[in-house]
């Protein structure tokens, strides 16, 4: 019986973790702009020199 209680606590804590992650994600605006982050990741930090003279 006590095992079930431990399992229950574990499952609820994991679910709570996801809830917190979700709330944090919404709060930090991760669902606001679905274009820039996906493109931003493709830019190199230091682009290869493309200077043409």
């Amino acid at each position: 019986m006590s095992v079930i209680i431990i399992l229950m606590i574990a499952s609820i804590s994991i679910a709570a973790l996801f809830l917190v992650a979700f709330l944090w994600g919404v709060k930090s605006g991760q669902f606001e702009d679905d274009f820039s982050p996906s493109s931003r990741i493709l830019f190199d930090d230091k682009p290869a020199p493309t200077k043409t003279v």
Binding site: I5, I12, F22, V26, K27, F31, D34
Partner: protein, 798 residues
């Protein structure tokens, strides 16, 4: 990589992708259409930012019209600065710029690398959906003006309007998303922990059962106190106005369910209905979020301040002083530069005004004004600089006064119009009746079962099914319409659209296109060769008439001009090897100063005047078909600010019963709408310019037509893309179907309610029955609403 050369021999500008006239303007083997584009390329090349061109082909913004050098001088004014910046300390300043030119990943790349162009920029972060860049810069290294100028130099001119002077926009309200998150978390876990109870947990495990029940109790508390808040708030608001909306019985049901369940758990008699309660809250929040999904990139609330600049040059002792718009007083002399908006009514004191009133009237062809004439606020000067003497303050001008009418002062709006509230009210009365009868019956027969029975009735029979069908149907229809480029302000607009009885159109810019003109040539016939010369010459100029003319003729080959000159307010002159050509106004080309009606461009080869190109409004394609369909069911009117020249054409188009009114000033339009409403009509107004703004606001549903949704539109209930206007009749049909779908699913929900009530009145509604009935009714209603609205949309080919 060199500039792409198309198969027909045309070369595209490496920067902006427009066709180049010749290959004269080049740099590093790339060809550009104008010096402006070349300059941007050189700036980027110097800073090694040419990845900009590798990410997308020709990503640039055309730079043919350069921004005036000291345009952003007003940003040095401290008062204006304070209004714009969001945060500053001794070192840093944070500012958000709206950059409407942003359109691709190249833009994103360039704007986030701003620090390489201007070392004073500490960071820049782009929000692509809102087309904004949050920029942090260091005070001692650069200034606000310099940052704005850096952006302008690479083609992203910040859009700063008078609207930015007002209070800061409120942050986006995300509380409902948090609430649904909490409700979803609680709902999922409570369902899981209710299983043992439903599956018949062994009686020996009494302790365990209690643990599950109390855990459910605990999880349901945040749903009661936090997630269900929108329903409490809304019902409280409506009760204060002595009105019973649909949220009131829902809030009541949530609270009663919780109390009953808490009582059961505490007394140890049962598990309660926590799963049903949290589930209802979760589904209803989902419906509401779906319905309230807004188009954040669009704004329905624009007033004149979003169109007007934040500051303008005032001339004082022949010096230009940038002045914030609210500080402009009658008697000031304003210097209006080329391509600037006139912010206040005034008298033209110097220069030739060539004013584009397309913001105001939808008419894109500029109007010529001479010295001493009155110019109205809202027009855009198109050729050269002018000076005007202000006669009225900005807020008092002819156009802006329209917005300051008392009728439009926002009141706390409470949505009482929807028929859903009416339905839910009947529903609630019947429910209360049944509850009362049940109470009396059990009081007489078996008093102990009275409370369980009454509470069960409220638990099972809340109008949540009605609520769900309404919100989900609305949400789906909004989505379908949005996919077809008709953007509604909110869900109520769907219903209003379905209820309209009278449709009023604006003419210029709505029925006609401001992009296109019908051009007819009159006079001595021109040879094909001559036509080509006219087109080539017109193509050199940025004047709207020249552009339209060049487009109309269609240039097929390249002609070199040895000399080319543009005369502001008069026309253009070019010289080929053989002779000189002049295109322009009657007075300038023919020397004849007599008055003539309409807009024309005259042509002269050498010394001989050949004839004129007459411009007239072009009716949008498919408008006749649309009108033909609409006139069967609606009373139609057309309001036009123009003269009666096109009365016959229009009357033929709209039929005998339609009302046509010409010479309509903005107030006249508003008054006409008001007049129709007093006769009991529900008026749908379709317009585009600022001169329709009053009428759009007064009407029951105002639809603004936009050539591009990024463009500015007057405040309205809906924004439609001009190309989609021909499908208006089908959009209206879909909106009308909305009501039928909601009623149909309401009938279905009644069936579920009757089943539930059958158990409830007997006082033996088990949590299991509630737990099965609730999700199955919700899901089947979702399927019905989604399915039928999508099906109708498909039938209408939307």
């Amino acid at each position: 990589m060199a500039s792409p050369v198309l198969t027909d021999g045309k070369t595209l500008c490496y920067h902006c992708g427009e066709t180049c006239l010749n290959t004269k303007i080049h740099s590093a083997e790339k060809v550009f259409c104008c010096e402006g584009c070349k300059m941007v390329f050189q700036i980027l090349n110097q800073s090694e930012l040419c990845d900009y061109y590798n990410l997308n082909d020709n990503p640039g913004i055309n730079q043919r019209i350069r921004v005036r050098k000291d345009k952003f001088a007003f940003l040095e004014d401290e008062k204006i600065q304070l209004q714009l910046i969001s945060f500053q300390d001794e070192k840093q300043v944070h500012i958000t710029f709206y950059l409407p030119q942003m359109h691709c990943s190249s833009c994103l790349y360039l704007l986030e690398n701003l620090h390489r162009l201007n070392p004073g920029v500490a960071s820049s972060k782009v929000n692509f959906t809102r087309k904004e860049a949050d920029i942090v810069f260091l005070k001692d290294k650069t200034s606000l003006r310099e940052v704005a100028e850096t952006l302008t130099s690479i083609g992203y001119e910040p859009y700063i309007s008078l609207n930015d002077l007002k209070e800061k926009r409120p942050a986006i309200d995300r509380s409902m998303v948090y609430q649904i998150g909490v409700a979803g978390f609680a709902f999922g876990n409570i369902m899981l922990m209710s299983f043992p109870e439903y599956l018949g947990i062994d009686a020996s495990e009494k302790g365990l059962l209690n643990v599950f029940r109390w855990a459910n109790f605990g999880l349901a508390i945040p749903v009661l106190l936090y997630s269900a808040l929108p329903f409490y708030i809304s019902s409280w608001k409506s009760l204060k106005h002595k009105f019973l909306n649909i949220d009131a019985p829902i809030a009541l049901a949530v609270i009663i369910t919780f109390i009953r369940s808490a009582f059961e758990v505490i007394s140890g008699t049962g598990g309660g209905y926590f799963d049903s309660m949290t589930g209802i809250v979760f589904f209803m929040l989902a419906g509401r979020i779906l319905q309230d999904k807004t188009y954040r990139q669009l704004s329905f609330e624009r007033d004149y301040t979003s169109y007007f600049p934040i500051a303008i040059s005032v001339l004082k002792d022949s010096r230009e002083i940038p002045t914030a718009l609210p500080d402009i007083k009658p008697g000031n002399t304003l210097l209006i530069h080329n391509e600037e908006l006139i912010p206040a009514d005034g008298i033209l004191t110097r220069g030739k005004a060539f004013i584009d009133y397309s913001f105001v009237t939808g008419e894109s062809l500029p109007v010529l004004k001479d010295m001493g004439e009155i110019v109205y606020a809202g027009g855009k000067q198109t050729e050269g600089n002018i000076e005007i003497l202000v006669v009225k303050e900005v807020t008092q001008s002819y156009l802006t006064k329209l917005w300051n009418r008392d009728e439009f002062k926002e009141q706390e709006e409470i949505n009482t119009r929807s028929f859903v509230h009416l339905l839910s009210r009947y529903f609630t009365y019947i429910l209360l009746g049944i509850a009362a009868l049940t109470a009396v019956y059990w009081q007489l027969n078996e008093p102990a079962r009275m409370w369980p029975a009454i509470t069960s009735i409220f638990i099972i029979a809340c109008p949540c099914a009605l609520f769900l069908s309404n919100t989900f149907t609305n949400g789906n229809i909004l989505r379908i319409l949005g996919r077809n480029h008709l953007y509604l302000r909110n869900a109520q607009t769907i219903e209003d659209m379905g209820r309209a009885t009278h449709i009023v159109f604006d003419k210029t810019g709505t029925l006609t296109s401001s992009r296109q003109q019908d051009i007819v040539y009159e006079g001595h016939p021109l040879s094909a060769d001559q036509l080509q010369q006219v087109a080539a010459l017109a193509d050199q100029s940025n004047h709207p008439l020249s552009k339209a003319l060049a487009h109309h003729i269609g240039r097929t080959r390249h002609i070199e001009f040895s000399r080319f000159k543009e005369f502001a307010g008069k026309g253009i002159e070019g010289e080929t090897e053989q002779e000189s050509i002049r295109l322009g106004s009657s007075a300038w080309v023919t020397g004849n100063t007599g008055h003539h009606s309409g807009t024309s461009v005259f042509v002269r080869f050498g010394d001989e005047v050949y004839g004129q190109f007459r411009f007239s409004n072009h009716y949008r394609e498919a408008i006749p078909a649309l009108i033909n369909d609409l006139r069967k069911e609606y009373r139609l009117s057309v309001l036009s600010g123009d003269n009666t020249a096109e009365q016959e054409t229009l009357q033929k188009l709209l039929g005998k019963n339609a009302t046509l009114l010409f010479h309509q000033k903005p107030e006249d339009k508003l008054r006409y709408i008001n007049f129709l409403q007093q006769q009991g009509g529900k008026v749908m107004m379709i317009g585009d310019g600022l001169n329709d703004a009053g009428a759009l606001k007064q009407s029951d549903i105002g639809i603004a037509v936009a050539e591009q949704t990024n463009n500015f539109t007057p405040s309205s209930d809906a924004i439609i893309e001009a190309k989609q206007l021909s499908r208006l009749n089908r959009f209206i049909r879909l909106c009308r179907a909305n009501r039928n779908i909601v009623v149909a699913s309401f009938v279905m929900s009644i069936v579920y309610n009757v089943i539930g009530l059958f158990f409830a009145v007997q006082g033996n509604l088990s949590p299991l029955i509630a737990a099965i009935l609730m999700p199955s009714s919700s899901l089947s209603i979702l399927l019905l609403t989604f399915g039928s609205s999508s099906l109708i949309a498909r039938k209408l080919k939307l």
